[in-house]
Assembly symmetry: C2
Homo-oligomer: 134 residues x 2
Amino acid sequence: MAATQELTKNQSLVFDALTRADGPLSAYTILDQLREDGFRAPLQVYRALDKLLDYGMIHRLESINAFVACSHPHDHSHNHGMIAFAICEKCGQVTEFSDDVITARVREWTKGNGFKPSKTTIEIRGICASCGTA
Amino acid sequence: MAATQELTKNQSLVFDALTRADGPLSAYTILDQLREDGFRAPLQVYRALDKLLDYGMIHRLESINAFVACSHPHDHSHNHGMIAFAICEKCGQVTEFSDDVITARVREWTKGNGFKPSKTTIEIRGICASCGTA
DNA sequence: TTGACTAATGTAATAACATCACATACGAAG
DNA sequence: CTTCGTATGTGATGTTATTACATTAGTCAA
């Protein structure tokens, strides 16, 4: 496995679709966009998404059942802090950020309660600055 | 509106089902449990769930498409801190907690970025203490 | 080269989650 | 009693995700 993940054809197509998009896409939206590239069934999308999630190249937004390309341009293998998302309900823009204090605080809680975390979701839905002033 | 919310028949049935359950239930699981009480269609469940969410009596767990009764026995009208959930992927147990530091930290971010939050989701999935030692 | 194994893909069907559209009932305010 | 808002009943439909099975393609060892 190279520093930057080698992707299969389907994985590339799905990743490119997400990268082109300026916001989150649902699996079925991706499917529609890739029909002309030969995609026929949801599973082709979901399988690629699963791998891309594994590789840390994309994120799933649980609260809206959609996917975004990771906005961190650099390496994905470290930086194990939790990632939070601010999702604008008007324009769909997603802002990704991480906060060491929140990360530490969550870890404290899980440690203190003997809970072994596998995945943590932090999503803030609301109205972004642009949409709020517009 | 009374201190404790007056519920309609359907709302009571759904709330009771969630209260009886020792873990989160999906809307369709609730529907199945309430068939003998006259429930016939998903909408009957979803409408009740919407109201109960409004009243703050239940929570929706976005990452597993399920609902739980709020575990805070006391009043729901104040305590505006964010609520986090630890969800055990083995036994399904959900633990609800709130953390002022996390709440403050999220607020700082949203203020600093001109983002007006409407709903914040924090869900930690993993293995709970009981399941981890068992 | 062949065979065995693993990963990726193609396809249809189905399951699981959620909403729309429209009709009906029922209680409170005037 | 009429009007209005809220709750309800019901069927159809829309959206999201998985199961099951067949096929293709690459890797590696004998």
